[in-house]
Amino acid sequence: MNREDFNMLKNNIVYFDNGATTLKPNCVKEAIDDYYDNYTANAHRGDYKTSLIVDDKYEETRDKVKKIINAKEKNEIVFSSGATQSINYIVFGYFKYKLKKDDEVLITVSEHASNILPWFILEKEIGIKVKYIDLNEDYQVTIDNVKKAINNKTKVISLAHITNVVGDVRPIQEISKIAHENNILLVVDAAQSIAHTRVDVQKMDIDFLVFSGHKMYGPTGIGVLYGKYDLLNEMVPLNYGGGMNALFTKDGYIELREVPTRFEAGTPNIEGVIGLSSAIDYINKLGINNIEHYEQNLRKYLIDRLKELDFVEVYNGNNNIGAIAFNIKNVFPQDTAIYLDKYNICVRAGNHCAKILSDAIKVNNTCRISLSFYNTKEEVDLLINVLKNNKNIYNEIL
């Protein structure tokens, strides 16, 4: 649906790598152009008209983010460069000062590197322990396994809402209930879910949430850190400079600005925020429920068609949302990706930043298809036809 909104789709490509980044609708580009053409100025600085427009647009976007995730307050939204920076901020700005030696953080082996490596570093720095919630036979997180993994040292559970390879949807609301009954804080990486299903931080009772703008039809370099206000109020800024201080004196006294401004030192990514604003409007116009419904149907169609091919192995056909990981049997996934690229079909090959997942699924590398609402059954049919001709694969790529 709405393919006409994306100029990239006029380039005769089948774009199946939406988990890496989504294409950008024209309205996002136009919003950024409008900023550069008609009201370029810095934010929170000037007393002139264009600068005030920037301030309004910047803060209006914070409000739109608040609404799209149903945060309680607008000041619970911090702009970052993306989900990775947001998680790093949470780990090194908050938990570094709250956790102590031997406290345990629960993750899974299917998390993205950005939700593993910061915890590993904190483990080295202050002696916390990173532990893993076991996955079931479909590589999913079950409530039973969450309960089993919790002990009296567990202080944090940090999980993707939807994982980027397995594509399973975690039961965040139930996990958060168990977490909070045990005085555990819940960090959720919504990078793979925010553009595909409803995320409601109040209903799901999430303590910290992160996501990136570029995976939700916005520009690269902009992301969001959501935190409950009381938690953000205790988070330590990692960047110091302009915009985040209220006062400083010669003797080193610093008074910080309020939350969340104190976490946004320096000139922010204004074009990114303005682009994100337009992307949120765009998603709202389409309706997240419509998007989810369409993508689920298309995903089911894709899985059914892939299952017709006995030379293709699908690793996560049982999930109903998120990425599809597959291989042509006995063909290296990168060769498959290069072959598909000959037909302008873009898929990702590799371990998808989930390097320790291979221990669980016993396959190091896969091809990944991640869908968007602008993908179609006709595109899936083309993929299947090209895969059916895979006897030609080496003739085509060599």
Partner: protein
Amino acid sequence: MNSNEKRNIILKNYQDNTNRKDIEDKNYIKINSRNTSCIDNINIYIKFNNNVIEDIKFNGEACVIAISSTVTLINNLIGKTKNEALNIINNYEKMVDGLEYDKELLKELVAFDDISKQPSRKICATLASRKIKELL
């Protein structure tokens, strides 16, 4: 050599598992080569007899270009002295970079001469040669 002949050599060597195995023997030196920008990852095992490369084995996961160029290179290097091997690799690198090189010396490795026109595949075609050169 036309493109069909080149393709046939690349495919023949891709499917040749003669030297594709892990080695536990301590007389072999083990080196790992991987491309961090993609997912090629192989272990190479080299056995020297004084100045001569007596044997090379390898195993791992990589694309058709990386595996086949590894097999083809290994076939060429076994039995060569270190200096001869270095000379072959230097010529191979020149070919991959699109420079003048000695075709006679490279034998079947010339099947990969089109790589010079595909900059993104250079790291695949030199997965083994880079690390073996370091060792030499």
